[in-house]
């Protein structure tokens, strides 16, 4: 059985190695090189490369952007409710405070 198994394995390897692969066109490399001449590569100048590297230094992974956005929204909502609350509190407080204008002269006398 071992003998037939190893023979079969050998046969399998032979079939696998016999896989069909046609030659590429003789000018494949030149075709690619010629096509590349039509395309302008990005970011080649020194300043451009420097700017790209500078910008990349500030890049954050996507989860960090999401966290930052959540934090910003939370901060905004927190500040908004605090400001709105303080405005309401300010108006109700002002109704309790008497100032000189609220008191007529007659009341003093």
């Amino acid at each position: 059985m071992d003998d037939s198994h190893s023979k079969n394995t050998h046969l399998f390897e032979e079939v696998m190695h016999d896989r069909f692969l046609p030659e590429p066109s003789s000018n494949l490399s030149e075709r690619i090189i010629e096509a590349s001449k039509l395309h302008k590569a990005q970011g080649r100048s020194g300043i451009d490369l420097w700017m790209r590297a500078f910008w990349d230094a500030f890049l954050l992974p996507h989860p960090a952007y999401v966290m930052a956005a959540i934090f910003a929204v939370g901060l905004f909502l927190g500040l908004y409710s605090e400001i709105a609350g303080s405005l309401d509190a300010g108006s109700s407080l002002s109704s309790l405070i008497y100032t000189a204008e609220d008191v007529s002269e007659g009341d003093w006398l």
Binding site: F20, L21, I32, S36
Partner: protein
């Protein structure tokens, strides 16, 4: 100045990033045939494979910063992934255009493609359709390890899976192929397959 032909791939990439077209040409001449073979094994069509290799190299030329040398991967290992993904995307697009049918049905209708099929022997056609019938990741694992000669570690990196997962993919691919080839009478049926 160093001749680009005498430079290694990673140094050529550093020059390509600075816009050196000679370095790009050297890289293309050095590897286009090897990556064509890789693309052909994904698409089973010469024109499609050539277009996939061209697309992959043009992507690299247009935006060489996608190659990050600091990650420590060999250029060829990384570029295998680019070529495999490009060839796979092209197949998916073709399949969307021509839904249903097997691999050879989805190929562009041209004389060259027909010749390719005719030149292959019946045995090779059976093998090709058996390989193409494998699940995509099993097929890629088999192509990279068996035909492209990548080490298991390199193939695992290319596919973005762990070593154990790659070994499992390979094992299942070979078992599936043996079964199909035995059913088609190319090899004897192993006892373990009944």
């Amino acid at each position: 100045m160093v001749d680009p032909d005498n430079m290694n791939d990673e140094d050529l990439m550093a020059r390509i990033k600075r816009g050196d077209h000679q370095a790009f040409a050297a890289l293309v001449r050095r590897h286009s045939t090897m990556f064509y073979a890789c693309a052909f094994r994904v698409s089973a069509n010469r024109d499609e494979a050539e277009d996939a290799v061209q697309d992959a190299f043009l992507k690299l030329w247009k935006n060489p910063s996608v190659w990050d040398a600091t990650r420590g991967a060999k250029f060829t290992t990384w570029f295998y992934r680019v070529v495999v993904n490009t060839a796979t995307d092209r197949i998916r697009k073709n399949k969307r255009l021509v839904s249903g049918g097997d691999m050879f049905d989805t190929m562009p209708d041209n004389a060259d493609a027909q010749d390719d099929v005719l030149v292959a022997t019946e045995e090779q056609q059976i093998l090709e359709s058996a390989i193409q019938a494998l699940p995509e990741r099993q097929k890629l694992a088999l192509n990279l390890c068996f035909y492209e000669g990548l080490s298991n570690k390199e193939a695992a990196d290319t596919l973005g899976v762990g070593l154990k997962a790659l070994e499992s993919l390979l094992m299942r691919a070979k078992a599936g192929l043996k079964q199909i080839l035995a059913e088609r009478g190319l090899i004897e049926r192993d006892k373990q397959y009944g």
